[in-house]
Symmetry: C2
Subunit: 175 residues, 2 copies
Amino acid sequence: MEVEIKFRISDPEKIERILRDRAEFVIEKIEHDYYFNHPCRDFRETDEALRIRRDVEGITLTYKGRKIDLETKTREEFKVRLDDSETARKILEKLGFRKAGEVVKKRKIYRDGDVVICLDHLEGVGSFVELEIESDDVEDAKRRIFKYAEMLGLGGEKSIRKSYLEMVLDVADSN
Amino acid sequence: MEVEIKFRISDPEKIERILRDRAEFVIEKIEHDYYFNHPCRDFRETDEALRIRRDVEGITLTYKGRKIDLETKTREEFKVRLDDSETARKILEKLGFRKAGEVVKKRKIYRDGDVVICLDHLEGVGSFVELEIESDDVEDAKRRIFKYAEMLGLGGEKSIRKSYLEMVLDVADSN
């Protein structure tokens, strides 16, 4: 299980100063995400996601199950590496999958033990921090991840369950 | 386009003697193929195929469109390489794809110019030769591939449009 929380942040620098002190910097990259909808069910209703991601580390196909928790974005996740994003997209289109939308973001990743911290920036949408632990003990991971958020000064904030795709589509709708 | 014909053969040795003289030996391997059916259409009716293949060269996901020709197995084909067949299967199952069947075969591949020749053996089903040219000039490729079959002594034989999956399922049904 991917136990994950997300917060909108106004001061990424402040959070990064804390991270530089105690976490390990992993990578900074641009992620190009292409999302699909299913040929015969609506992922907006089933709360699933299917995505091809391209970044400097390679190409991945990821399936995410529906969120199983009201406070977090905890869900099943399966991921494989691919050699060719264009052909993978073609295969999915031939199978009837349709484009749901695209998300491009700048992401800095830090790691602190088993907590992965992503500082994200999406042009025209804003800055966010995502905290993630991969674990089958969801309750324990939730406890620890909210504690970590508090340490980053995000204790008073409300975590966001909306996906980047939904945010990007909202912005597009309002323009 | 993948322009392909297939023949059942009783004497693989005879064909291989001709190939050894004029074609280049590429590889001998065991191919493990796992076929899926679509969540909301029946590939037996639409004549499509979706397959994960594992062999010594790696793992591939392949989509094949319906056959567009009555004499050959010519069809669109898209292929990507993957790093993990179990996870890829899991993703497809989560998306509603169901197992259609499995095919295991021993395959020897020869190449002669742009003609790829596969000598296949399927336990309990038989021996076959598949001739294939990748080309967008389907008519030219068909002419050349049937000429190649003649040169291998298969001129009098009728080419088979049935897939190995269908043959394996037929054998299973009759047992």
